[in-house]
């Protein structure tokens, strides 16, 4: 890799990709987005609860509170423009005992402090009217109508796609192993060769502390906090209308039940502090605990088939806020501790980081509007290709279903394989199309999808 980039962004999660996209607005900058894994969005960004938060329960006055609030607004608009599925289903914080019930008014006040004014307290009758399948014993709820569900895969991919289309170089399978300085330029030793950049942005998620240490900082330590989740089959979707959030208590945030934009229902996450940053496996204890909680919240949920189980790691630190720091002398910005709201805040974080870079002396040059991207729709609330007669008439491949559980057509798979950032694995193809993501997990279509994938490989 020759030449010197103006900015290298390390980590192509939702945060790094958003930063690269934001920087792409400056046509004079040469930008590298450097990712250890074989796809964008392979870290925490692919395995979360996929909620576009309002920030109603953030710590008032914190950086996180502000960036979540701004980010939510920015992302809602961006999603509408780019075809990222969002459903404004709203959330209910359900109180199951007197202590939780007593906490609801305080949460409503906290929402006010966070500039969110639409919450409303519901008594049990109004609650059960909204959620007739809720388990018995709920005492009331706080309604937060602004909470939405979103497709996390399409979000990261849209940012990265738009960045690449505007000239950003995406380096996949390029783990940054070391960083040194030569004549005031960062020299990144990666698993795919050496890369030079004047400015460095650390968006390495769980590994942001390691990279930070390489530049001489001991500002924070990342402790991976695992969240296991169970995805239930589509028939569960009619059981729940809102995101059912637990009331946060001294014992932690608890378990939620949420619809997904793909028409499934999520149950999770657990919260387990670990040492191993690769521990994205599920455990028998974790799944048992989730099922016990789910049975209380939505008893009928447990009768439905499980479609998938996954786990994500939150980049928790010893600090109670994001750690976004500029080190102007080093031409370096760290984006650390983006724990459990980074999807929502991503666009605001990107704007903030760009601001820090220019304040620190990055000469960005003139700015332009980006060409909008239009992403393939993976959401059930919007017409999918198999539901669009005009599309099938123009190209019959959109009427040829390959993945039957998720109703993914051959045309969509073909398009994904020829897209700006084509998938390098079947999992990557799944995140772009939903192929093999359904109840049969490949019993019917697994081999056929693999065949299409292999045929398209160079």
């Amino acid at each position: 890799m020759t030449g010197t980039y103006d900015v290298a962004v390390v980590g192509a999660g939702v945060v790094g990709s958003a930063i690269a996209r934001e920087l792409a607005r400056y046509p004079r900058l040469r930008i590298a987005l450097v990712e250890a894994q074989d796809d964008v969005g392979q870290g925490s960004s692919k395995a979360n609860t996929a909620i576009l938060h309002t920030g109603f329960d953030a710590v008032p006055g914190s950086l996180e509170a502000r960036l979540v609030r701004e980010g939510a607004r920015l992302l809602a608009a961006y999603a509408a423009e780019s075809g990222i599925p969002v459903e404004p289903v709203g959330a209910l914080l359900v109180a199951w005992d007197e202590e939780q019930l007593a906490a609801l008014p305080r949460l409503a006040e906290k929402a006010e402090a966070n500039d969110y004014h639409a919450t409303r307290l519901l008594g049990p009758a109004a609650l059960y009217e909204r959620e007739p399948h809720l388990g018995p014993g709920a005492l009331g709820a706080l309604h937060v109508p602004g909470e939405s569900i979103i497709c996390p895969w399409t979000t990261t991919l849209a940012y990265a796609t738009q960045a690449v289309r505007h000239g950003v170089d995406l380096h996949l399978d390029a783990r940054v192993e070391d960083v040194s300085q030569q004549d005031g330029i960062h020299v990144l030793t990666t698993s795919a060769g050496t890369l030079r950049a004047r400015w460095l942005v650390n968006a390495a998620g769980l590994h942001a502390d390691t990279l930070d240490a390489r530049l001489g900082h001991r500002d924070f330590t990342v402790t991976p906090r695992r969240g296991q989740l169970i995805v239930f089959d589509k028939f569960a979707r009619t059981l729940v209308n809102h995101i059912l959030l637990p009331v946060p208590t001294a014992l932690g945030k608890g378990v939620l039940v949420a619809p997904t934009v793909y028409g499934n229902v999520l149950l999770g996450p657990t919260a387990e502090d670990l040492d191993d940053k690769r521990a994205t496996g599920s455990t028998a204890d974790g799944l048992d605990a989730l099922r016990a909680k789910g049975r209380r919240i939505l008893p009928e949920l447990l009768d439905e088939e499980v479609t998938a189980v996954y786990a994500g790691l939150r980049a928790a630190t010893e600090h109670d806020d994001y750690r976004i720091r500029a080190h102007p002398g080093q031409a370096y910005v760290t984006v650390g501790g983006i724990r459990s709201t980074g999807l929502t805040a991503s666009l605001a974080i990107a704007a903030r980081v760009t601001g820090l870079l220019t304040e620190a002396g990055l000469d960005a040059g003139p700015v332009r509007e980006l060409e909008p991207v239009r992403m393939p729709n993976l959401g059930e609330a919007f017409p999918r290709p198999y539901q669009r007669p005009e599309l099938i008439a123009a190209d019959p491949q959109y009427g040829t279903l390959v993945c039957h559980c998720e109703r993914v057509s051959r045309g969509e798979i073909r398009d994904a394989l020829a897209s700006t950032i084509p998938p390098r694995t079947l999992d990557g193809l799944r995140r772009r199309t939903r192929a093999r993501a359904g109840r049969c997990q490949g019993f019917y279509c697994g081999a056929a999808v693999r065949q299409l994938f292999e045929e398209a490989r160079p």
Binding site: V231, K234, F235, R278, T280, G281, S282, T283, A284, G286, L287, E305, V306, T307, A308, V309, Y310, Y386, Q387, P389, I392, A393, P396, Q397, G399, T400, L401, H404, R407, T425, L426, D427, R439, C440, Q441, G442, F443, Y444, G446, A447, A448, R450, Q451, E454
Partner: protein, 317 residues
């Protein structure tokens, strides 16, 4: 709204059950009998059962041969077999919406036969914990990978289950040039013929671990092993790059459920009476969608039985 097309009998699913039903109906002069299948080829599961055991003792057939035979018989009898067409949902009590390369279509019938088959529960639905590494199959996917597409599957496989379909999976692993490290079942003994179990163990040297359950999948990226627990609580790791989850069938009842047709709570298949009528008048169900899982020939015989019931619906005396 698309136009509604009228047929006499609409059969959903061109597996052994649907094809046998359609053949008999068409031969008996039931009018326009149309069979839909969402796959590109008719035949259902036998399409990818490359092994024998599908014909009669006198006329042994492999699965694909059997699938072709049943399809040809249906066409010869006058049924219309349409592949690449998915029945999506209901637009009325006896009306289905469909989609295929030609676009959407709404079809209404005097009787509808649901023959949508059954699938094996995959790893996630069995709540087997561990990593999400590659190399995890069901028999259905494995057979298609090996027999329809000649895809490589890895070199060392553990087969979970010890019933007929598990032994078929073990044969498929070997056909792909890989080794079966072990078969694992939490049952006390295999559920197949003694001859088959003995043959696998002695002639093919496949160890069978009974009273043993899979408790965790290991490996990052590619599967590196499965952890199993024996009855006495001991755990061991079986090193492998492939694992096949076999059996644990669940009827493919999605279309029926979308239409509000009653399920049998015990089997999760469709609830039917002795003449294979479902809870919805004019809608019948046959094959693995009713009871997972029966051998293909038993299912085909049931199709004949279903046809008789459909005929009496179409021509009441």
């Amino acid at each position: 709204m698309t136009d509604v097309r009228q047929v006499d009998v609409l059969v959903v699913g061109a597996g052994p059950a649907g094809l046998a039903t359609a053949t008999r109906l068409a031969a008996a002069g039931a009018g326009r009998v149309e069979v839909l299948d969402r796959e590109q080829r008719a035949g259902g599961v036998p399409r990818h059962c490359a092994h024998g055991g599908f014909g009669t003792w006198l006329h042994p057939l492999t699965g694909p041969q059997y699938a072709r035979l049943l399809t040809a018989a249906a066409v010869r009898a006058g049924a219309v077999v349409r592949t690449g067409v998915t029945a999506l949902d209901w637009a009325g009590p006896l009306t289905l919406t469909t989609v295929g390369p030609h676009g959407p279509e709404t079809i209404t019938a005097r009787a509808i036969v649901l023959a949508t088959g059954a699938r094996e529960r995959p790893r996630a639905a069995r709540l087997v914990p561990g990593t999400r590494s590659a190399g995890v199959y069901t028999t259905g996917e494995l057979q298609q990978a090996v027999h329809l597409y000649e895809q490589p599957i890895g070199s060392r496989a553990v087969v979970v289950g010890a019933e007929d379909v598990s032994y078929a999976a073990a044969d498929t692993v070997r056909a792909a040039g890989a080794r079966v490290v072990a078969m694992v079942t939490d049952l006390p003994a295999p559920r197949t013929t003694p001859a088959r179990a003995l043959d696998a163990r002695l002639r093919r040297g496949i160890p069978l671990l009974t009273h043993t359950g899979v408790t965790e999948l290991l490996g990052h990226g590619r599967l590196s092993g499965v952890r199993v627990r024996h009855r006495d609580g001991r755990t061991t790791v079986l090193h492998c790059d492939t694992v096949v989850f076999t059996g644990d069938f669940v009827p493919d009842h999605e279309l029926a459920r979308r239409g509000g047709i009653t399920l049998d709570p015990a089997t999760r298949g469709l609830a039917v009476d002795s003449t294979l009528r479902t809870s919805r008048p004019g809608v019948f169900a046959v094959g693995n969608v009713v009871h997972a899982v029966e051998p293909a020939r038993a299912v085909a015989r049931e199709g004949v039985h279903a046809a008789t019931a459909v005929l009496s619906e179409l021509r009441p005396f």
